[in-house]
């Protein structure tokens, strides 16, 4: 069964790939890692140029991946779910940005 997730990109990552927000269709059971592969299919070159891909593992590098899920309070680092192995659900909102500071 298909599920839809929204991905939002911010700050330098948004500037690097040229997109702020997009939707992805995935199969039930697919994970953040699977989503990352789909993202790389579109923006692999840009991500490479920005230094956002780990040379060895091909995993995201220097990017915070945080998620908010319907029915779960708050936006959380995916590391608080299951990291890249987190299974995505319909309606998940994934925020991706290089570590940012301010305040």
């Amino acid at each position: 069964m298909a599920i839809r997730v929204t991905v939002q990109y911010f700050t330098l990552l948004k500037r690097t790939i040229g997109t702020g927000k997009e939707e992805y269709e995935l199969e039930e059971g697919e994970t953040v890692a699977d989503l990352w592969i789909k993202i790389l299919k579109k923006f692999g070159a840009e991500m490479e140029k920005g230094g956002y891909i780990d040379a060895v593992t091909k995993e995201p590098k220097s990017i915070i991946i945080a998620m908010s899920r319907i029915g779960v309070l708050g936006l959380r680092h995916v590391g608080l779910y299951d990291g890249l192995k987190t299974e995505l659900k319909d309606g998940d909102l994934i925020a991706m940005y290089p570590p940012v500071m301010g305040g």
Binding site: Q8, K14, G74, L80, P98, P99, M101, G102, G103
Partner: protein, 633 residues
């Protein structure tokens, strides 16, 4: 003298005396620099119960042993005083160039005491210190005063107050240079209450370090660590406005006095590329900085065309953006310049949002606010409120007296988004790190003293690895478990930053895995010749943090000072990932209790335990607290 300059400069304004004392080395070793030494002086020299605007209050300005050296991002300074905004300890830091110049002139700290008979300004020219007449500057804006000073003595770093400080408005600040501020807790009002318009400084003596080669090698290491950190690139391009995604993605943008957490009409405004296109011209920096998070800004079109300034940071963006329903970077620039010139802190400017809410709800009407139409997003009305507050005109006279007085006159107290007497842009409803750090912050509820920034941007494994004894729930910002631990730790580390002085953005306060306490212990050892390690450095930070909290207790504030406004306990965001969540005081109070106990304070009364003070070498504080019955023996 290595690292430290070795001299405290006290200006007795009542007696018109200039007193130079050698910096006691034992104090320097234990209290590090301006935040720590300032708090100790405050304790020793200001009697308990002194009203903050009384001549008996003091205000200290200064920096630390690393300031003025080549340690990256050490060009900061701190001010310490009893705050007229909160009645608690007032600690504010600022960047710019004053701190290093003061060190180069040979002083670690300036202490202003008493009150001048008529307006004066202080001119420090290496060894020559003068109290000069300031009649020709009094009444002028801060920038006008700076122009006059620069005419008289050259282009020197300055600290000035605007009309808000002169009129002792509750949230007035001291402006450092033209766009940096000792903000939040009323430093400007204290300086104004002493009739001091400005301080200018010129220094040619320079700063020495004890082990130069090792020091410079470590400085290079620190610089490389900072500039290669993942946070660096975004910071260097955008400055603090790059924080927006965290709030946007969470749905906790403070929109219209925290009515909403999502701000779709402000999507472009909050994208940090927008100010890059619209107002940022190039990067700008404080002394010795490698991050250059500031910008030179110019408004190129619209009603505020031609407005120019250095700065534009997060707080301005939010207080003059979503907080009052505006989405105009030209206006943010203009409002920043107004605040800097008038000398009003952005925290006090938050009153505009509160008034707009009252106006929306019909609690106040035009006639209550001198005919101003305080509809959301009304830029002219907002600027007018700022001017009225600074000059204490009309309704401004009420507002200038603070949140409590304003609520007495106008009502609407429950709509003031106060956390322990201050307001902020972070929302404590669902986020436990925000709730705890703000409510227990010694200077009042804002983001400065205790918010663990880094917890949000590092993978959870980083916290588990570095602090294995902390609960596994610690990295989850919505879970109260582990928050007392992380807030307790960051409070000590921030006190160190504020005393050395180094900028949070360059250390592991902000950059997990960046330059950490061990690095600064090394830098400090090489700079001063006094041996430090991480343990000793953080212990010094704890000493400062505990004394600050003990000061508040001495001034009459116990457990009951830690308060959260009904804005957060009774209202929730209607939309976003934290929709429907209200702050749960039971949970928050449990965190506060745990935090206080961990800090060595009794959670029931809020008083320090005797052993806590003894273990940190704060015995001198025991007698006075015992006399007041505010210590646990």
């Amino acid at each position: 003298m290595y690292g430290w300059a070795g001299t405290i400069l006290t200006i007795d304004l009542s007696k018109e005396q200039i007193i130079k004392e050698p910096l006691d080395m034992d104090t320097a070793e234990k209290f590090l620099g301006s935040d720590g030494i300032g708090v100790k002086l405050l304790w020793e020299r200001v009697p308990a119960g002194t009203p903050p605007l009384d001549p008996a209050n003091i205000i200290c300005f200064g920096s630390g042993p690393l300031t003025g050296t080549f340690c990256p991002n050490s060009g900061k300074m701190s001010s310490v005083f009893k705050s007229p905004t909160t009645g608690l300890i007032g600690v504010s830091t600022a960047g710019g160039f004053f701190g290093p110049e003061l060190k180069e002139a040979g002083y670690d700290l300036i202490v202003l005491m008493g009150k001048a008979k008529k307006p004066v300004w202080i001119w420090i020219d290496d060894d020559d210190v003068e109290i000069r007449d300031a009649a020709h500057m009094w009444g002028k804006t801060a920038w006008e005063a700076i122009d006059i000073i620069h005419e008289e003595v050259g282009d020197v770093p300055t600290i000035t107050i605007g009309p808000a400080g002169e009129n002792q408005m509750f949230g007035a600040f001291c402006l450092v240079m033209r766009s940096r501020a000792l903000g939040g807790v009323g430093s400007g009002a204290v300086m104004g209450s002493k009739n001091v318009k400005a301080i200018g400084v010129r220094g040619t003596k320079g700063v020495q370090v004890y082990r130069p080669d090792e020091f410079m090698k470590k400085c290079k290491e620190a610089k490389d660590k900072i500039m290669s950190h993942p946070v660096y690139a975004g910071f260097a391009r955008y400055g603090t406005p790059q924080w927006s995604p965290v709030l946007i993605a969470q749905g906790v943008v403070p929109v219209r006095n925290f009515q909403e957490g999502v701000f779709p009409e402000g999507e472009e405004f909050l994208d940090p590329e927008t100010p890059c296109k619209e107002v940022f011209v190039k990067s700008d920096a404080c002394e010795g900085c490698v991050i250059h998070c500031g910008h030179w800004c110019e408004v190129r079109s619209g009603p505020y065309k031609g407005t120019k300034t250095e700065g534009l940071e997060w707080y301005a963006e939010y207080m003059f953006g979503p907080y009052i329903g505006c989405t105009d970077w030209g206006f943010v620039t203009k409002a920043s310049v107004e605040c800097n010139n008038l000398g009003i802190g952005f925290g006090a400017a938050g009153m505009i949002a509160w008034l707009m809410e009252l106006y929306q709800r019909g609690i106040i009407s035009k006639k209550d606010v001198d005919g101003l139409e305080l509809t959301w997003g009304n830029q002219e009305a907002a600027l007018e409120v700022l001017r009225k507050m600074a000059y204490r005109e009309g309704i401004g006279d009420i507002l200038a007296q603070g949140w409590e007085k304003a609520a007495e006159e106008l009502g609407g107290k429950d709509f003031q988004p106060l956390i322990t007497r201050l307001i902020t842009t972070e929302c404590p409803r669902a986020r436990m790190d925000v709730a705890l750090s703000h409510i227990v912050s010694v200077r009042g509820g804002d983001h400065n003293k205790a918010l663990p920034y880094f917890a949000w941007i590092c993978p959870p494994e980083y916290i588990h690895k570095n602090w294995p004894d902390w609960p596994k729930e610690t990295p989850d910002i919505y879970n109260p478990i582990g928050k007392p631990e992380i807030v307790d730790w960051i409070e000590d580390w921030k006190c160190v930053n504020d005393s050395l002085t180094v900028c949070y953005w360059s250390t592991s306060v902000t950059m997990p895995g960046g330059t950490n306490p061990t690095d600064y212990a090394e830098l400090l050892t090489y700079a001063t010749g006094v041996e430090y390690d991480e343990k000793k450095l953080l212990e010094a930070g704890r000493r400062i943090a505990v004394l600050e909290r003990a000061f508040n207790v001495r001034e009459g504030w116990g457990r009951d000072v830690y308060q959260l406004s009904p804005m957060f306990t009774d209202r929730a965001f209607p939309r976003g990932s934290q929709a429907g969540v209200k702050a749960d005081m039971k949970v928050i109070n449990e965190m506060v209790d745990k935090f206080l106990e961990r800090k060595g304070f009794d959670s029931k009364t809020g008083y320090p335990r005797k052993e806590t003070l003894e273990q940190l070498g704060l015995d001198f504080a025991i007698k006075q607290l015992r006399k007041l019955g505010r210590i646990i023996d």
